[in-house]
């Protein structure tokens, strides 16, 4: 939503004055070194301090952790050995790495695909503003409002092998007991199902807001031309929602990439490594065992940052090419 309005104003200002003359005009009014420059710096300083303390330092620290060998002892004494990329090599060479990478990809892509599809379906459904649609829409937000520990534990109970409600339904229809969380074949599916349920409200809210931006006249014109509602969806709604969809998918991707709590509460990444993702692996190395291993955990964390960054750039590129066309 935000992006669309920003790009709209951008375009408007480009149209009105053009970017080139505006900037030098402003610069001329402020010669460097004058008091007003210092004021400007003064006003910006808290922001820079904030960025430095809460963004730059943690990032630098994470890199620093990953290129040193921080044993517990070295962590406290502050004398870790510099090992360069050794921790990264260890992570890449580990048996858990291919499993975690494939699981992360599956977890992210499948979660987002379902969250987006269901969220979009519900958004279109609620867009028609029937009676009680507001109440129903509010109810759909519940998964978002619940603390994660509550919803994850509830899912873990529901999917329990021996006395979970899901299995009792399956068995009452003559099915066999499914060991959702405890069999290596289904553990990942189980956590993906829970995560899809958790992510639908986010998609619903953003896409619903995006739908409000589509002018009603377009639909009116389309129905006059005899377009079916299916055609209206694919030819009008979907293309006009593209910028909103783009940002929803990007945010969803980044959120899903770093999901730890849901998986940790439901399976701790197990059984064995069956539902291990990169984020859970990083958490497990750092806090999941009796002995914190900060260096490999930081290396995995940095890897996640890089992956998220790459997709962020892909998004920016795609958006630019859309704007051009």
């Amino acid at each position: 939503m935000t992006t669309t309005s920003v790009t709209a104003t951008d375009r408007a200002s480009h149209g009105a004055a053009g970017p080139a003359p505006a900037a030098p005009a402003r610069r001329r009014r402020r010669p460097p070194g004058s008091a007003s420059t210092w004021t400007a710096i003064g006003f910006a300083a808290p922001l820079f301090a904030y960025l430095a303390v809460f963004y730059a330092y943690p990032l630098w620290r994470n890199i620093e952790l990953s290129v040193h060998d921080y044993t517990v002892r070295a962590f406290v004494l502050g004398n870790p050995e510099f090992v360069g990329f050794e921790k990264y090599t260890e992570v890449f060479a580990s048996d858990a790495f291919p499993t975690a990478l494939v699981n992360t990809a599956l977890f992210t892509v499948v979660s987002i695909a379902f969250q987006y599809a269901i969220g979009l379906g519900l958004a279109v459904f609620f867009h028609s503003n029937f009676r009680l649609s507001g109440v129903l829409r509010a109810l759909f937000l519940v998964p978002w409002l619940l603390p994660l520990i509550v919803s994850s534990s509830t899912w873990a109970w529901m999917l329990n092998s021996d006395h979970g409600i899901v299995n009792s339904v399956v068995q009452s229809f003559g099915g066999d007991q499914i060991n959702w969380l405890t069999s290596p074949g289904t553990a990942l599916t189980a956590v993906i199902i829970a995560n899809i349920w958790l992510g639908i409200p986010f998609n619903l809210v953003i896409l619903h807001a995006g739908l409000q931006q589509v002018p009603a006249e377009v639909y009116e014109a389309a129905s006059l031309d005899g377009a079916s509602s299916w055609q209206q969806f694919w030819r009008i709604t979907f293309p006009l929602l593209r910028p909103v969809s783009g940002i929803t998918l990007l945010l969803g991707f980044i959120y899903t990439l770093k999901v730890v709590d849901v998986i940790w509460i439901m399976t701790t990444g197990g059984p064995g490594n069956a539902s291990l993702t990169l984020a859970v692996w990083s958490y497990r190395e750092a806090f999941g065992t009796g002995q914190p291993d900060f260096s490999p955990a930081a290396a995995i964390g940095n890897l996640l940052i890089v992956i998220a960054l790459v997709f962020g750039f892909v998004h920016v590129r795609m958006q630019r090419s859309w704007e051009k066309s």
Binding site: A35, S36, W38, T39, G42, F43, A45, P46, A49, V53, V72, R73, F75, V76, L77, G78, D95, A156, N160, S161, D162, H163, Q177, N179, L181, T182, S183, P184, M266, T267, T268, G269, G270, P271, G272, N273, A274, F287, G288, T289, G290, Q291, P292
Partner: protein, 413 residues
Amino acid sequence: MKYRPLARSTAALAAAAALAVAAACSSGGDEADADTHTWWDPYPQHAEDSAWAERVDACGEEAGVTIERTASDTTDLTNRALLAAQEGTSPDIMLLDNPAVSTLADTEMLTTMDELGLDVSGVDENLLAAGVVDDQAYGIPIGANTLAIYYNADILTAAGVDPASITDWATLTDALAKVTGNGDKGITFAAIGTEEGSFQFLPWFWGAGADLRDLDSPEAVAALQLWTDWLDAGYAPNSVLTNSQNTTWEEFLTGEFAFAVNGTWQVNSAAEAGFATGLVQIPGMDGGAAPAPTGGEFIIAPAQADTDRYDVTRQIVECMTTPEGFVETATTFAYYIPPTAEGQEALLAAEPDLEPWVAAVQEAKGRTSDNLGTDYPKISEALWTAVQNALSGAATPADALAQAQSDAEAALG
């Protein structure tokens, strides 16, 4: 020039903000106030007005200081302890889960009991072992607990099983066959992929004669095979793979299970259960009691820059570790068995029913003993992963343990 004051005040504002941030960060605990001693423990369930908090306060008063107590859960406490040590803001006294003591001792952040001037000769050697590194004791156990098998007497009677007949693995498996044959559920335990999973597997592992340095020995495979067979035969539910010890206990309290592996801390709850309960020691493979791992916290004293504080610290530790103090701790925590002979006698005088638990604790073995120390957490991770892989059917017990041994060796370098 009229901007000057504005610029100056902006700078002042920024400086003030920075100071506020700095102050907020450092208010964690480095008050070198001689009148207060800081105390961290892993018992958030005991609030400020609890009997436990009052005891802590009383020991402080006796030593002439106010104790500032902060409680957080076990894992969090270990992490916070490390951060505090790095920043030089360690508390004066900390109660810490026993397998973590050797890890902290290795960082040189703890004082030895010798330095504090405390005598540890009265403490049972098997219980003290978890806090000993290179012949130096870094803490005193404030109480110990361990595992045993609780049984549902009603179910056993109905199935015609005499609990006294359970003396080794074969007789236990027979008993399980009988109760499940009679329509009840067999045994439940915690095989979750965390330290709790290893904690519950160790009595069987050690009871088979296996050694933590050698995870893929035939003895270890036999222990894991026992659990796997129980799951395959339906004697144990599949949910053990995600069960914590608390969940296990809830399952047992439903009255559907004949047996549950659980700890000393459930004594009161078992007495209040809606059915008759009893207790058997976890048997070794070929009979006798298996050594169960010790649980419980150590009282430790992180090193301080101002060594004058140690005198008061010593007095507080002494106050917590008198025989009467141990008994009080034992009853507050339902139950921690005192780690000294004197304390155990005093406890048995007050609570004769705890006799089997005192015996179990005397047989118990520290997880970081056998000079494993800081290697234990890494071995344990490999071990619980093997348990998970075998029970979920991802690998055979032998393959899972072979993998665990190579993982542990790789982790230890």
